[in-house]
Amino acid sequence: MLAYIIRRILYAIPIAFGVSVVCFSLVYLAPGDPLQTILPADATAETIEIVKKEYGFDKPIPVQFALWVTRVVQGDFGVSISSRRPVIDEVMGSLSNTLVLTGFAIPFAFMIGFTMGAIAGCYPGRAIDRFVTGVAVMGVSLPNYWLGIVLVIVFAVEWMVLPATGMGPSGSASFSIFRLDDLRYLVLPVITLSMIPIGILSRTTRAAVAEIRGQDFIITLRAKGLSEFAIIRHVVKNAMPGVLAVMGLQFGYLMGGSILIETVFTWPGSGFLLSKSIINRDIPVLQGSILLLAMVFVATNLLVDLLQSAIDPRIRRA
């Protein structure tokens, strides 16, 4: 087990390195001089000179990368062009808001997706199976930000039962998940965000359940005289590790992929920050938030692999 953990962590290090190279090069992808890209347009000559020296823009690119990594490791992601605040403060604050959204969306998607997939897998080819498969295809084909707009139109504009946008009646600063008034702001974004995971989880669960039900040990259990309910318990237990792994990956995807949903609901999370930084051409914020979100994704994948190997010992031997 320990050997597997070490091997898996060692494998993640070059990936994390590569991810930081990609994020570093984003500044150079931007049209124009990188120095102008990361500084406000009205920066004084002294500021430009200081930053030039500190960032090593007069030195070769590998040196610039080394300097950048040293700063990033210390938590210095540069300064936002539009708000003049340190990038790390902006990103960290918004990351926790995204976590609230994802933290509700993933369990919700798991409950619905797993139940639907398990039922469909128990009756392959029947009407209920076709229905679930159809819903799953729709879930992954739906432009989810459009669904968000439609939900806002129905529940906020037409029926006026739920708030359309924002995070709580008094803003994100005093948001609490224990207050009912604040929770109402979560309903629409969470439903919208869980659409894709519901589609993917129900597909995965359906395939796993149908496959396990066809295995020999199920016939043995049935021959032993176990009730249908007890057999389902066995099937679910066997299907769980694979489905949990997919759920973990979906968590990473949602953390990094909620940009469209957060833009629709003006939810002040990392995706909304990213979308603001694109409009304002705020490259330091863009770079910082993408680096952190990608690292969250790498870490999630690592964690999922380790957890899965703890649950299912067959993986360690592979």
Binding site: I15, L142, P143, V152
Partner: protein
């Protein structure tokens, strides 16, 4: 004379096997022809593509012609079948024209990624250990980004626009296709018939062209076809964020984004572009499922 020809045709009939043997592609075609769901949705996909290609001739009105008094009018208002948008332009004509850029931004990246990723995958699968490690580990890095995030990062840093959006999306899909091609190549590279070709003096390039390509194209094609709907969704998402087309050019994602400000005035109109994206994406998805079922013999 008539006797000999009768005998000849008799002999031919005898020589024919009892059941007709189909080649692989014939059997794929047979399965597709007998799959009504795929046929129907394939026809819809074809209709959507043709509508977009011939947009100037099909669209009932000028998609750029605005009107101050006719803004956000309901369905059927003064001959505007789907109403008008926030600048009074005909929605139906804009939807038909918008399909051009939306479909192009969905299809081109998948095509580019299939060619680039497929080539890299075959090289990685057929090259030595060092080549394989270099290519596949580089791909792993791009795999370590959620796809939306990578697309937004690259096109956002490059400053948006159609071309940058398509470059970003191509980069998003290349690693996944490369993996599929590499796996398929690695599966055949050590089989006996490759060994036989090598023994008979065929060079690496000839082996790849005649013996590997046929075995790799199938899985790569199946996988790429499933990416088209993802690509359409991502491309319209980029436009929605303002990273794709610039106004006043019509595009489904951009229309959704500009109409979003008007949900309190005419909510129904604002939902229309999303329906176009949804229908296109679900049709491509179902056609891709049908192709997979027809081409994957193991299923």
């Amino acid at each position: 004379m008539s006797l000999t020809s009768a005998a000849a045709s008799n002999w031919e009939a005898d020589a024919l096997p009892a059941t007709k043997v189909r080649s692989y592609w014939q059997s794929v075609g047979y399965r597709l022809r007998h799959d009504p769901v795929t046929l129907v949705f394939g026809a819809i996909v074809l209709a959507i593509i043709l509508t977009a290609v011939f947009a100037p001739w099909i669209a009932p009105m000028d998609p750029y012609k605005d009107s101050v008094i006719g803004r956000l009018k309901p369905f059927g208002w003064r001959g505007h079948i789907l109403g008008t948008d926030e600048l009074g332009r005909d929605m139906l004509s804009r939807l038909i024209h918008g399909g051009r850029i939306s479909l192009m931004m969905g299809l081109v990246p998948v095509l580019v990624a299939t060619i680039v990723g497929g080539t890299l995958g075959i090289i990685a699968g057929f090259g030595g250990r060092a080549v394989n490690t270099a290519i596949m580990r580089t791909m792993d890095v791009f795999y370590a980004f959620p796809s939306v995030l990578l697309a937004v990062a690259i096109s956002g840093a490059m400053g948006g626009g159609i071309a940058n959006g398509m470059i970003a999306l191509s980069l998003v899909f290349t690693p996944a296709i490369c993996r599929v091609a590499e796996t398929a190549t690695a599966q055949v590279r050590n089989l006996d018939f490759i060994e036989a070709a090598r023994a008979s003096g065929a060079g690496t390039f000839t082996i790849i062209r005649h013996h590997v390509l046929g075995n790799v194209l199938g899985p790569v094609f199946i996988y790429s076809s499933s990416l088209v709907s993802v690509s359409i969704l991502l491309a319209s998402g980029l436009s929605f964020l303002g990273l794709g087309v610039k106004p006043p050019e019509p595009d489904w994602g951009l229309m959704l984004s500009t109409l979003r400000q008007s949900i309190y005035v005419n909510p129904l109109i604002c939902a229309v572009p999303g329906i176009a994206i949804f229908i296109t994406s679900i049709c491509f998805n179902l056609v891709s499922d049908g192709i997979r079922a027809a081409m994957d013999v193991r299923m």
